[in-house]
């Protein structure tokens, strides 16, 4: 249990495809895994009041978020028959087209991987104290609202 707590969720800036590839490659030794489900959040160029989003700047109440990530992880492990789970979220500036959230769930069977990954993403969005400041091309900003 204490080992799981050490997982580092926050990453400064965008999450790169190379980082994701390395994370996938690390699972080749876990041969009880039959299915991975990976969710990636990417920053959209939304048009808000005629202004286009150029980037999102993420901030968080990090200590509280880390506690919550730990609790969410533990509950997911109890609820689903999965082998492992990884969560990474950006802090700071992430430009449109770049990845800001990487949720990776691996299980013996696909049903558990799909169910757990989706549940996890919904809980992260709803429960963790993270905020996105949408920065427009003209450098003004608005605060992101999740739906």
């Amino acid at each position: 249990m204490t080992e799981k707590k050490k997982h580092k969720v926050f990453i400064q800036g965008t999450i790169t495809p190379t980082f994701i590839a390395d994370s996938i490659a690390k699972h080749s030794g876990k041969t009880t895994i039959g299915a991975h489900d990976i969710f990636l959040g990417q920053v959209r160029n939304d048009l808000i009041d005629n202004k286009t989003v150029a980037a999102i700047e993420y901030s968080a109440y990090e200590e509280m978020a880390e506690n919550l990530f730990h609790e969410i992880r533990e509950a997911i492990f109890v609820k689903y028959d999965i082998v492992c789970m990884h969560i990474y979220h950006s802090l700071g500036l992430v430009k449109t087209g770049e990845i800001c959230l990487f949720v990776f769930v691996s299980a013996k069977h696909r049903k558990d991987a799909f169910d757990a990954c989706r549940d996890l993403v919904e809980q992260i969005k709803a429960m963790t104290p993270i905020w996105g400041k949408e920065i427009f091309e003209d450098e003004t900003h608005t605060w992101k609202i999740n739906n």
Partner: protein, 77 residues
């Protein structure tokens, strides 16, 4: 008695700080009342309180050196 307040997201733009300290506040209802006096614009924005990293939903007693966070709606992911 001293309470530390952490301010996040758009609330930090209204309060113009990410941290403040308040004295002689006994509970969260008093805290909100005091904050509305100091920063009237706060009344326009829905926020939740966390005491020592735990979200609270009802009026809650505060103790010396408690850390209270003002949390606007989350928008991670």
């Amino acid at each position: 008695m001293k309470i530390k307040i952490l301010v996040f997201g758009q609330l930090s733009e209204i309060i113009n700080a990410s941290e403040l300290e308040l004295l002689a506040i006994n509970n969260t209802d008093e805290l909100n009342k005091k904050l509305f006096e100091l920063y009237p614009k706060l009344e326009d924005i829905k926020y939740t309180l966390a005491i020592n990293k735990k979200i609270i939903h009802e009026n809650t007693q505060l103790y010396h050196e408690d850390i209270v966070a003002l949390l606007p709606p989350f928008s991670g992911g």
